[in-house]
């Protein structure tokens, strides 16, 4: 009974604390759910035993696939084609720089430094390093949204942050899928093992074929209740298929969402449903993450600090580099990358997905890095985003495209 009381009090205390922080310090976080998970899990009160957590695996696998579908739903082609190419260029450069910097440094440390069970081989170290790089690349939309809300306006800078967060998600999902395809555990019953490329194609096909079939399945359905059941079934099936073949559910979910947003007649309704369920599933995922978290040994502390530090450098430096290379420093300022420091749910989803994978190397380390980064950056990401947006002029002007050589001639 004491344990239960502890759990309830712990949850309520965390909830109060987060509410207070959200009101007074512009902090957005799901920390109370992580705390609840910690309290319920084997490292807390033990109310959720490892077997029970294993039984809950379908729930958080579903949460991962659902998150993928929500991300894919952000890529609506009619709006994408109207978005200035510069915004995408900036986003891609910032994202790739962050991923490359963090992934490369982590690979170097894991392959060369005595971390965890000992230095890994360069090939083995590539998997956790890529996943850490992908986690580093992700950034939360929440900062941009709160900044826009707090300032009472949406300008090009806010738009840039939104595009950057979406591209960060796309890069991260692709990187995780490629990494898991490259390190796929042999199936053992086929005449020939599929290659990494074939695993990627199969993973993509699940999302594309699934998306197309669900588009047909949904037809002209308008009832939110029935639409929800159909969409839920679609996401569960796609997620289950990806999980079954040992691939990440994020990419098929992403493609499913992408097809649905671009083909469905009920785009708004489906989008609304995906968004509404995304949040409860995210919290469920946080509870599970808290319960599953098994802190790594103290000797990975250095790597954790390197991860956090380099991610900050990557985000700020990558964004600066991108803006400078594209002549957009005046438009977005030298430190617009600070607004992308917040991590959000995708980082937790990737870490959870990876830790459930059979191919996972050092899953606890990856998991700890993601949790630490999410908890830490959620504390100040909204404030940073607000400050960045506030420092820019009301009307951000796009840089003039440089005249081509032919035109000059």
């Amino acid at each position: 009974m004491l344990l239960i009381l502890l759990v309830v009090l712990g949850y309520l205390a965390a909830r109060f604390a987060v509410d207070w922080l959200a009101r007074h310090a512009l902090v957005v976080s799901g920390a109370e759910y992580l705390v609840l998970g910690l309290l319920l899990g084997p490292r807390g009160t033990g109310l959720l035993e490892p077997e029970q957590l294993a039984a809950l695996t379908p729930f958080f696998t579903l949460a991962i696939g659902w998150m993928g579908a929500s991300l894919g739903f952000q890529f609506w082609l009619p709006v994408l084609t109207r978005t200035p190419g510069l915004l995408f260029r900036l986003a891609f450069i910032e994202s790739l720089v962050t991923m490359g910097l963090v992934g490369g440094a982590c690979w170097y440390l894991l392959a060369g430094a005595p971390i965890g069970p000992g230095p890994l081989t360069p090939v083995a170290a590539a998997l956790p390093a890529t996943i850490l790089g992908a986690i580093a690349a992700t950034s939360s939309l929440m900062g941009a949204r709160i900044a826009a809300k707090s300032l009472g306006r949406r300008n090009l800078a806010v738009r840039q942050l939104e595009v950057a967060a979406s591209i960060d998600a796309l890069i991260a999902v692709l990187a995780v899928s490629v990494a898991l395809a490259a390190f796929h555990v042999p199936v053992g019953v086929l005449v020939r093992e599929p290659t990494a490329t074939e695993w990627m194609v199969i993973s993509g096909a699940i999302g594309l074929v699934g998306g197309w079939l669900f588009h047909l399945f949904l037809g002209n359905e308008r009832s939110p209740d029935r639409l929800f059941i159909a969409v839920a079934g679609a996401v569960v099936l796609t997620t289950g298929a990806a999980n079954y073949i040992g691939m990440s559910a994020l990419l098929p979910g992403f493609l499913l969402g992408f097809i649905l947003v671009n083909t469905s007649k009920q785009r708004d309704l489906v989008g609304d449903l995906l968004t509404r369920v995304d949040r409860p599933l995210y919290f469920l995922m946080l509870v599970s993450a808290g319960a599953l978290w098994s802190p790594s040994a103290t000797d990975v502390f250095v790597l954790l600090l390197v991860f956090l530090g380099l991610r900050l450098v990557g985000k700020v430096g990558g964004a600066w580099l991108a803006a400078r290379a594209n002549g957009a420093i005046d438009a977005f300022g030298p430190r617009w990358g600070l607004a992308l420091v917040g991590q959000g749910g995708l980082a937790i989803a990737i870490a959870l997905d990876y830790s459930l994978s059979r191919a996972a190397v050092l899953p606890n380390l990856v998991f700890t890095a993601a949790l630490a980064s999410v908890l830490l950056t959620d504390l100040f990401s909204a404030r940073l985003a607000r400050d960045v947006v506030a420092s820019l002029p009301e009307e951000v002007e796009m840089p003039e495209p440089e005249p081509s050589t032919e035109a000059t001639a």
Binding site: V7, V8, F16, L40, L47, Q52, A55, L56, P58, F59, S70, F73, Q74, F75, W76, T83, R145, E162, V163, A165, S166, V187, G188, V189, P194, I202, L213, F214, F217, G219, S223, P224, D225, R226, F228, I229, A230, A232, G233, V236, L237, T239, G240, A241, N243, Y244, I245, V261, G271, D272, L273, R276, V277, D278, R279, P280, F283, L284, V287, R358
Partner: protein, 452 residues
């Protein structure tokens, strides 16, 4: 038709990727579960065209996809999905408790208790008599001495008389019926749940004194009684906690209810109390004790999310139905089902007098009580611990009876509610899937219009 073709294509696609994951241990649960949801949804829509409750479609889809027919959902996959089913039933119990209004319980409590006692008493007597009369065709009674026959027949009657809160809640949510018959049915179903389980515990305790079995049900008779009696205070404590927490939780109420149900489930397992009863009480206390707005908001959040929960629960319940076994026991099942229906009709006729229900409302009430679902099987599990030799055939017979009543009951109940004029606006059950507060967090950045 289009949906059936898509389902067939999906089925083919599932078969296509099957070899790619064979070395993994029963991981296909989520995959087949997704297919099951879509199949159940399509079947639900199909039967709704014939003016039948959707849960019939969900059950049929579950039966067809289950291990005894098509085998799409294997027994191992069904086992892996049991936490999903358990959570769904915990949520249904929490919602059912939340639907009970304290004022109504106060106003009509005595009459409802009287009705429950009469309909249950008559039902138990009828089923007991039928079990004795059909003794030679019932494996766990055939060839046993008088004492064993009487005790096993009584245990069987107590379990077979049970109603289904889940089916009643599903029909009420789907039809949005809120009239006197609907409310009385829900109250009696919940009340009878408590009474039957309590009687069952007492009878099993007595049976073990007279007929020592292979082993005592884990912990002995006192623990069985504790399972029931302990559920009430624990449910009250959980309900109070939820009611107070609702003052803080302004949004994400559905996820909060989900967590409360999950927590209630875990606490119940930990303290060895009945999950359903604990959550029923918790839901009742939480909504009636919370500030009015908070209680209503919680109830509405759960109602909106109930549709998908029912699809999941009944589709998985269908998977558990063993069709060949049910057909094989037909000779016993048919008279028992008919006898139970007659007993219910007569019991409600005499028991409902003080409630002031019209004949059509009384008809809806007994038809609502006719439904049965898998909850009764939980009690057979307790019997199995003490008398494993009898439990196997008792479980098979009860599953067969539940299969028939689970299909017949929703059809009858809906028909009864139509007859009583308590269904308005058809069978739409339009419900959004989740929390209204979450709408503020729409995440479609790239899809949003460009500034300016």
């Amino acid at each position: 038709m289009r949906r059936l073709v898509v389902l067939a294509l999906l089925f083919g696609a599932m078969r296509l990727i099957e070899p790619l994951g064979r070395t993994r241990g029963a991981p296909d649960a989520l995959l087949t579960f997704g297919f099951l949801i879509l199949a159940a949804y399509a079947a639900g829509e199909l039967v709704a065209r014939f003016r039948q409750p959707k849960i019939i479609g969900y059950l049929i889809a579950g039966v067809l996809a289950g291990p005894t027919v098509l085998g799409t959902v294997t027994a191992a996959a069904a086992l892996r999905l049991s936490p999903v089913s358990d959570l769904a039933i915990a949520l249904i119990a929490f919602l059912a408790g939340a639907e009970l209004d304290l004022e109504e319980v106060k106003a009509r409590g005595k009459q409802l208790v009287r009705l429950t006692v009469i309909e249950l008493g008559l039902g138990i007597l009828t089923l007991f008599g039928l079990a004795l009369a059909l003794k030679q065709w019932i494996p766990f009674l055939a060839g046993t001495d008088m004492q064993r026959t009487i005790l096993f027949a009584l245990l069987f009657a107590l379990i077979a008389v049970m109603h289904s809160p889940a089916i009643v809640m599903a029909i009420l949510t789907e039809t949005r019926a809120k009239g006197p018959a609907a409310r009385a049915t829900l109250a009696v179903v919940l009340l009878s749940e408590v009474v039957v389980v309590l009687l069952f515990s007492l009878l099993l305790g007595a049976a073990q004194r007279l007929l020592p079995g292979a082993s005592e049900p884990s912990g002995g008779v006192l623990l069985v009684i504790w399972e029931i009696a302990g559920s009430v205070p624990i449910g009250v404590v959980l309900g109070i906690a939820v009611a107070f927490a609702l003052r803080v939780v302004r949004d994400d109420r559905f996820v909060f209810a989900l967590l409360a149900a999950l927590l209630g489930q875990q606490i119940s397992h930990l303290l060895h109390v009945e999950v359903l009863l604990t959550l029923l009480v918790a839901g009742f206390v939480a909504v009636n004790l919370a500030r009015e707005d908070d209680g209503d908001a919680l109830r509405h959040s759960m109602e909106r999310a109930a549709g998908p929960v029912f699809v999941v629960f009944f589709a998985l319940a269908g998977v558990a139905i063993d069709v060949p076994a049910a057909v094989a026991l037909g000779i016993v099942v048919v008279p028992i089902v008919i006898g139970r229906l007659i007993a219910l009709r007569v019991g409600v006729h005499f028991g409902a007098r003080g409630l002031g229900l019209e004949p059509a409302q009384q008809a809806a009430l007994w038809q609502g009580l006719s439904a049965q679902a898998g909850v009764a099987i939980g009690l057979v599990g307790i019997v199995a611990e003490a008398y494993p030799e009898a439990a196997v055939s008792m479980r098979a017979l009860l599953l067969a009876i539940i299969a028939v009543n689970g299909t017949l009951g929703p059809i009858l109940f809906r028909r009864g509610l139509v007859g009583a004029g308590e269904i308005g606006g058809g069978m739409s059950g339009e419900s959004a899937a989740a929390e209204p507060g979450a709408a503020d967090d729409a995440t479609t950045p790239v899809a949003e219009g460009m500034p300016g």
